[in-house]
């Protein structure tokens, strides 16, 4: 990919991340941290590719580690976030609008 185009994407993505968070209430800080932790679990995709085209044993080793870690990131991130967000279940209590 052309570097400048990547730059555009980085800029837009950064702006998007900033905007999405900027109005968040304090009680969501921790769940959001956890949620975004899950999202960078997409590194799994990269790890799969890296392991997938690994040639040498060393590469394979690192690739294997990468996938394990990445899978842990994704799976663990999801579970933990889901559990934290359980308390925001729409209950009988009135939602703040």
């Amino acid at each position: 990919m052309e570097g400048i185009i990547a730059l555009y994407i980085f800029m837009l993505a950064a702006f998007t991340g900033y905007e999405v968070i900027s109005k968040v209430p304090v009680i969501l800080h921790t769940p959001l941290m956890s949620g975004s932790n899950f999202i960078h679990g997409i590194v799994l995709v990269g790890a799969m590719v890296a392991l997938g085209h690994a040639g040498s044993k060393l590469e394979m080793l690192f690739g294997f580690i990468a996938v394990i870690l990445a899978a842990g990131n994704a799976a663990g991130g999801y579970v933990v976030t889901e559990r934290m967000l359980e308390m925001f279940k729409p209950s009988d209590k009135k939602e703040s609008k």
């Binding site: 990919m1 899950f38 990445a70």
Partner: protein, 458 residues
């Protein structure tokens, strides 16, 4: 096929952003994580068809690795106690950072025909990912209680800085040397990065850990974004960068909520809460309005003890507003009026009546004193002498023998006052130092407004 994969990545990226957006509002947060999860599954499945994956071994390895990592993380995440969540986030985040670093390692070992930009970003991503990895693991260890000591020594910061600079120089060397670098230098580079991550984290105290974890989270995001560029994967680029930028903002917000600049958290070694809590004399522990709001909003029963400070601040209207909000959330709220609260007989009655508080939720000492034991949160607003346990326990106290409100018997006590001011009788109040007491400093009216607006957001 290629198109389908790309399309899946595209959709996944969109879902991540959409999910994150939903997660930023309490009402939709739960949907958010589900949508993001859908994106993740889509992207992962699509990747199995990725052109650059070759060889059955590799496929097998991938599946095994996913199974191992996924299973362990999933089960551990499921059974961990709610109170241990922060360290789990640290752990999983460290894994993500490690994964990014490992990807960088693979690509750098493979010397897979990267152009300069790619190689440079691989190095940077590797560096950041490694730091996030080892740093997060230390954070995990500290919160989990595996590592109890906060290690500090003179010149520590200087040492850390040197380590960091050396690592960066090595990284530059690797980035600029095309394919000419040896495995050795690569090894040292990653090792140093690992060490630096540990070194920068060990001196930080437990209370500051959430901020640090958030920072590492942002770093992992960045690393993932950079490796995404290396692998020509826009979904990773976008997801990583979004998380990176959101994470930095979040770190800042969290530090601000603790009323400290980030630099202070990272470098001053000031926030050592572990050491503090063991101090026997007891100390007054501060709390944020927003946290008080959450406590009250999710409580069954809240008792409010107003005192002279509420009168001085003329906070009665705000307090009543707060109470109405809590009532709307089905919290039982009662006012406990001490016979001599304020400065004249019936001082509190006059003010509460002015604010429109109905008589039937106002209780006097005899009626309510039994109830404190079953109260989740007692909110003491500008009262002092009337909740001073010394009246029961300390025969030398000038107020000994005066009946007091047994606020100290309740599960949590929140005290609103401006500072360390004494009450009418001019004596210390041990209630303020109790384990289950938190101080919420500020003018009662201002603090009450803050509570009103933060309760709304819960």
């Amino acid at each position: 096929m290629d198109f389908m994969i790309k399309a899946s990545y595209f959709i996944a990226a969109g879902l991540f952003i959409y999910g994150l957006k939903k997660m930023s509002s309490p009402a939709s947060a739960r949907d958010g994580i589900v949508w993001a999860g859908v994106g993740m599954i889509l992207a992962t499945l699509a990747t199995f068809f990725h052109e650059s994956i070759h060889g059955l071994t590799n496929y097998l390895l991938i599946i095994i690795a996913i199974a191992i990592g996924g299973y362990l993380a999933w089960t551990s995440g499921k059974k961990v106690a709610m109170t241990d969540m922060p360290q789990m986030v640290a752990l999983y985040n460290g894994m993500g950072g490690g994964a990014a670093a490992a990807i960088a390692a693979v690509e750098l070992i493979q010397r897979s025909g990267m152009n300069f930009t790619e190689q440079a970003l691989a190095v940077v991503g590797g560096l950041i990912g490694t730091i996030a990895f080892s740093g997060s693991l230390i954070a995990y260890a500290k919160l989990q209680g595996i590592m109890r000591k906060t290690i500090r020594f003179p010149m520590q910061q200087l040492l850390n800085a040197s380590a960091f600079i050396i690592t960066v120089i090595l990284g530059l060397v690797i980035a600029f040397s095309g394919t000419d670098y040896g495995l050795g230098i690569l090894f040292i580079f990653f090792l140093l990065a690992l060490v630096f991550g540990v070194m920068m984290t060990v001196p930080i105290g437990g209370a500051d850990m959430p901020v640090v974890i958030s920072l590492f989270n942002a770093l992992t995001g960045l690393a993932v974004g950079f490796e995404g560029y290396v692998l020509d994967n826009p979904a990773m680029m976008i997801a990583g960068t979004v998380v990176g930028s959101a994470g930095f903002l979040l770190t800042q917000l969290m530090a601000k909520a603790m009323n400290r600049p980030i630099s202070n958290v990272l470098f001053s070694n000031f926030g050592d809460a572990t050491g503090k809590a063991q101090d026997v004399s007891g100390s007054m522990k501060e709390i944020e309005a927003s946290d008080v709001s959450v406590m009250m909003a999710f409580a069954q029963k809240v008792v409010i003890v107003p005192g002279y400070g509420m009168a001085v601040a003329q906070a009665q209207h705000k307090i009543w507003e707060l109470v109405k909000q809590l009532q709307e959330r089905n919290v039982t709220v009662k006012f406990a009026i001490h016979p001599v609260a304020g400065r004249m007989p019936g001082h509190m009655n006059v003010l509460l009546a002015e604010a429109g508080v109905p008589y039937d939720i106002i209780y006097d000492l005899d009626e309510i004193n039994e109830e404190f034991a079953t109260t989740d949160v007692t909110l003491v607003i500008g009262a002092n002498d009337v909740v001073n346990p010394a009246a029961r326990t300390d025969p030398n106290s000038p107020i000994f023998g005066m009946p007091i409100l047994n606020a100290d018997k309740s599960k949590n006590i929140i005290v609103i006052k401006r500072g360390k001011g004494k009450g009418f009788s001019g004596i210390e109040n041990h209630l303020f130092f109790a384990d289950n007491t938190r101080m919420l400093y500020g003018d009662a009216q201002a603090v009450a407004s803050e509570l009103v607006s933060t309760v709304k957001e819960v």
